[in-house]
Each structure stands twice: as structure tokens, then as C-alpha cells.
């Protein structure tokens, strides 16, 4: 049951820091700027600057680095996999050879570059979700998407769906754990057997989980209707997002850094 304990995605860690208090729109846009420049950079020095930029942001956010780096764990395999593929599959100057496998200089450089890229990408996005409460995150997304309303993007509805989905992740995890425990108590076994048996063993978890999720969705819909929910039109916000001085400064700084590294490296 350890699987369910260590999911850090979407986990918000409340702190009182500059990063936490930024406008969510600024945080999302800054994160986007970092991601875009990550894909434009082609040199190590560029990654070094951006990496340090993200690391400093982590320190400013007062979130323990342990939690940010925990986000890396699930994709560590992907990083390693791409590194290995690049190491062995790129043509070029051979620096090491073992039988038919050969490592080339170009492969090493390319592999490391891509690894750094993924590494910084995950760090930046983890920090975004760790330092922004789900509510303000979806609020920010709603306001940002509102720009595209004229081409028919239902910004409010999308944001509402995201809020609900985020809200129910912990609930469903908790429930999964409870059902797993209940079925283990009845003699179910989730830890042994081959892959087909294991998949089959999931049925006693999945069916109750779905039944409960549908029931819950139904109840939620009725509750929302009872409170006269009718979509985004004419809806006001309890907390209005306001751009402050710190937001403008942070965003300007981020844009300058990302544009500079993208152009120079």
C-alpha cells in the first residue's frame, strides 16, 4: 500500500513566502516562459542558469526541497531511459565501446541535455503546484483562458472541472486505500502473481471505486443544482485576483532571464 502514500502531484504545501503570495496567473505564465526557453536552449550553460533560477525560486518558496525533488521520482525512469537511448543510438565519435554497443560523444551530450531539460521542467512545474493552492491555480487558469473566450473556449467550465477533479484526487486515493484494505482483509492479494493475475486482482478495487465515484458525482451534481449553480455567466468571485507590484517585478525578471538565455545559448 506504499504506492498511494508517495504521490506528491497536486499536493499543496502552505507556507508564507514570496512565491506563495504571487498571483497564480504570474506563476503559470512564468512557468510557461521557463518551459518554452527550456526547449530553445541548446547549451549546458543555458541549463545551468535556468536550473539555478529554479533552485533559487525553490529556496525563496520555503518549501522543503525534499518535496520538490519527490516529484522527480515517478519520471526518473523516463529520464534514464531517454538518456540510455541517446547514449547508444546517436551516430558520431566513439568514446567507449562494449561489444556492439558504443557510446558516442554526441550521444552523451544530447542525452545529458535532454535529461537536464526534463529535470528542470519537472522541478519548475512541481514548484508551481506545491506553492499554489489548487483553488488559486484553477482561478488563474480560468482567468488566463478567458482571453480565448471569443473563439468559444468555455473557460469557467474548464476551470470548474479542474477544480472538481483536483478536489477529488485525495478523496479517491483515500477511498482506494480503504477498499484495498477491505479486500485484503477478505483474502485478496495484490502483491504477488504475474501481470495478468495482478490485473485481474484489481477488479475488486475498480468496481467499488467506480460505483462510489458515480454515486458521488450524482450527489455533487444535485448539491450544485440545489445551490443554483448554472455555469460561469454572470458569476462573481469571492477572491478577485489582483496584480501587485511584486507580481510585475517577478514576471519582468523571469521574462528577462528566459529571453536572455533563449537567445544567448
Amino acid at each position: 500500500m506504499k504506492i498511494l502514500r508517495n504521490i506528491s502531484f497536486g499536493q499543496y504545501i502552505p507556507r508564507d513566502s514570496l512565491i506563495h503570495n504571487l498571483d497564480p496567473r504570474i506563476k503559470i505564465l512564468s512557468c510557461l516562459a521557463i518551459i518554452v526557453s527550456l526547449f530553445l536552449i541548446t547549451k549546458f550553460s543555458g541549463y545551468l542558469i535556468l536550473g539555478n533560477f529554479v533552485l533559487i525560486s525553490i529556496i525563496i518558496s520555503k518549501v522543503h526541497p525534499k518535496f520538490v525533488f519527490r516529484g522527480l521520482r515517478p519520471i526518473l525512469f523516463i529520464i534514464l531511459f531517454t538518456l540510455i537511448i541517446h547514449l547508444f543510438m546517436t551516430e558520431g565519435k566513439v568514446i567507449y565501446q562494449l561489444g556492439f554497443l558504443k557510446i558516442t560523444q554526441e550521444g552523451l551530450i544530447k542525452g545529458l541535455l535532454i535529461s537536464f531539460r526534463l529535470f528542470i521542467l519537472i522541478l519548475a512545474t512541481s514548484l508551481l503546484t506545491l506553492a499554489t493552492s489548487p483553488i488559486s491555480l484553477t482561478d488563474g487558469i480560468e482567468r488566463l483562458l478567458a482571453i480565448f473566450k471569443f473563439i468559444g473556449v468555455p473557460a469557467h467550465e474548464i476551470a470548474m472541472m479542474m477544480t472538481i477533479a483536483l478536489r477529488f484526487i485525495p478523496t479517491l486515493l483515500e477511498e482506494t486505500e480503504k477498499i484495498m484494505k477491505a479486500q485484503i482483509s477478505r483474502g485478496a492479494d495484490f502483491e504477488s502473481g504475474n501481470i495478468f493475475n495482478r490485473a485481474k486482482n484489481l477488479i475488486p478495487i475498480l468496481i467499488p471505486l467506480f460505483v462510489n465515484a458515480f454515486r458521488r458525482a450524482d450527489e455533487l451534481a444535485i448539491a450544485m443544482e440545489a445551490k443554483c449553480y448554472r455555469g460561469g455567466e454572470g458569476r462573481t468571485h469571492y477572491r478577485e485576483l489582483k496584480i501587485k507590484k511584486a507580481d510585475i517585478l517577478t514576471f519582468t525578471f523571469t521574462v528577462i532571464v528566459t529571453v536572455m538565455v533563449s537567445i544567448m545559448f
Binding site: R5, I179, S185, A188, I203, P208, V211
Partner: protein, 288 residues
């Protein structure tokens, strides 16, 4: 001794920002054939405690033995332990998943690798224990039942493993009074007729107190009282109120009588007992 616990502690999310100590220094012994009620306020650690009994949770420190077997030792066959200790979760109807009630109840025995004819015998036996008619129910879908029936089927699906000890977490939650009485009388029957060791977990004094023979009271991760319900209600009434549990209505009534200067025994659990006690203490017996 069936279950033996020494200085057990448990902390949730150890090393995480939301770390909380749920169990603090639990010492407990439960013998074979006992009928125990575990009561405490919501969030006091009852559910966490019973999940240690069959190895679903591992204590942060301390020891727990089931029939002399140390559950934390490496290589312990937890499957065997879970077969001995049947744990019925809160709202067990939420774990039903099979197409028919027969399959639902046969799930446990099947996992034990029993032959088909033995499985059928166990399904019949389990349905009988919860007072459901075999022929009427076996082919129906568990999702077509009423809440009370679903809960009984879920209970039967644990009983079919033939555990030596049955633990029930809030078995009466969300049931109407009649459903509650039915479940409790079935649990009583399972204890008295089949000699099963039973642990009943609840936050509600009423009814549970008059059902069990021994009462454990939990408060903030500790067991603060241990004794027969009569003893506890007679001696610790004020402490019970202090920890937010309160007394069953009749017991409270007797305590109030005593406070008014009537010398009555306050450890009563049922209205009948209370009537007898009051009549005994009246100067002139009432004529009926």
C-alpha cells in the same frame, strides 16, 4: 491470549508535513471468546488500532502478537493472520463488487483455494449466520439490495472465511433503528452461538454498551478505561462526559437520581435493569 499488544505507537505520514501521532503507547490483551466494545470519540484512533490487528498497518514502535505470533517479524504469513481475524470495515457495503451474492460471499473461500462443494457449504453457512435466505438471495445482484441487506451480505462475505475473531468497525452507522437492532442481534448470536471472539467498534454508547461484556474507552490515541460496561458507567461517568462520550440515556437517568439523593446502583445499561433497580429501592413496592 489471542491478541497481545505492548507499548504500541503509530504515526501517520511519518516525515511528512502532515505527520500526526495517532496511537500513543497502547497496551492491550484480548482473550479468546471475549466480547469487547471499543468506543471513543471520532478521530481518537479506533480504526487505526484495529487495522493493526490483522497487519494492515505496521506500528511505528512497539509489539503486537496474534496467537503468540509477532506480526512485525519478517516472513510472517499475514494471509494466515487475516484468515484468523475477520475485519469488517466501516460501510462494508462499499466494497461489494461481484455479479451475484453467491460470488460475493464465495470470494474469500475461493481465495483460500477451497474446492467448490466446500465453498457452497460456507456460503450457505454465512448467509444463515446473517439471517438471509439462501435460495432467495444467492442469484441476485448485491447492488439490488437495500442498505441493511447489503451490509449483512458484506458481513457474510467475511464470515465465510471462518475467522476466529471478528472485528466490526461501526457496524450500525447509517442504519435505521430496526436495521441497527438486526445487525447487533446477529453479532450477538455469532458470539454466543458460535463462540466467536468479537470486537465492536463504535462512537455511540447507546446499544453497544448493553451488547458487549467488556468495554475499552479510547481518548486521543490512548486506552483510558478498561472494564465491564457496568463498572465503567458506575465509576467513571464524569470522565466519560469529559472526553465527549456521554452515557446511555438510562444510565444518565440513574446518575441523576443518585445526585438527587436516591441511593441507586448507577451501573445499569437497559431500561429493564433500571426499572428493577428503581422498584427495589422504592419504600412501598408498587402493586401491579
Amino acid at each position: 491470549m489471542f491478541i497481545h499488544i505492548e507499548n504500541m505507537r503509530f504515526t501517520y505520514s511519518l516525515g511528512m508535513p502532515f505527520e500526526t501521532e495517532v496511537l500513543k503507547d497502547i497496551n492491550l490483551e484480548i482473550d479468546k471468546g471475549e466480547f469487547v466494545g471499543l468506543i471513543g470519540h471520532t478521530g481518537c484512533g479506533k480504526t487505526t488500532l484495529i487495522q493493526h490487528f490483522n497487519g494492515l498497518l505496521t506500528p511505528t514502535s512497539g509489539k503486537i502478537y496474534v496467537e503468540g505470533v509477532d506480526l512485525n517479524k519478517k516472513g510472517v504469513n499475514l494471509k494466515l493472520i487475516r484468515q484468523k481475524i475477520g475485519l469488517v470495515f466501516q460501510y462494508p457495503e462499499n466494497q461489494l463488487f461481484e455479479e451475484t451474492i453467491y460470488q460475493e460471499i464465495a470470494f474469500g473461500p475461493k481465495k483460500l483455494g477451497l474446492p467448490e462443494e466446500k465453498i457452497e457449504k460456507r456460503v450457505r453457512e454465512a448467509l444463515k449466520m446473517v439471517d438471509l435466505d439462501y435460495n432467495f438471495y444467492v442469484e441476485r445482484s448485491p447492488f439490488s439490495l437495500s442498505g441493511g441487506e447489503m451490509r449483512r451480505v458484506a458481513l457474510a462475505s467475511i464470515l465465510s472465511i471462518r475467522p476466529k475473531m471478528l472485528i466490526l468497525d461501526e457496524p450500525t452507522a447509517n442504519l435505521d433503528p430496526q436495521g441497527r437492532d438486526n445487525i447487533l442481534s446477529e453479532i450477538k448470536k455469532i458470539h454466543y452461538n458460535f463462540g466467536m471472539t468479537v470486537v465492536l467498534v463504535s462512537h455511540n454508547m447507546e446499544k453497544v454498551a448493553e451488547t458487549v461484556k467488556r468495554l475499552l474507552v479510547m481518548y486521543r490515541g490512548e486506552i483510558i478505561m478498561d472494564g465491564t460496561p457496568q463498572e465503567i458507567f458506575e465509576r467513571h461517568a464524569n470522565d466519560l462526559i469529559k472526553v465527549g462520550l456521554g452515557l446511555p440515556q438510562v444510565t444518565e437517568c440513574m446518575h441523576k437520581l443518585k445526585a438527587k439523593g436516591k441511593d441507586v446502583y448507577t451501573g445499569v445499561l437497559t431500561v429493564d435493569d433500571a426499572e428493577r433497580e428503581v422498584l427495589k429501592k422504592m419504600k412501598k413496592p408498587l402493586k401491579r
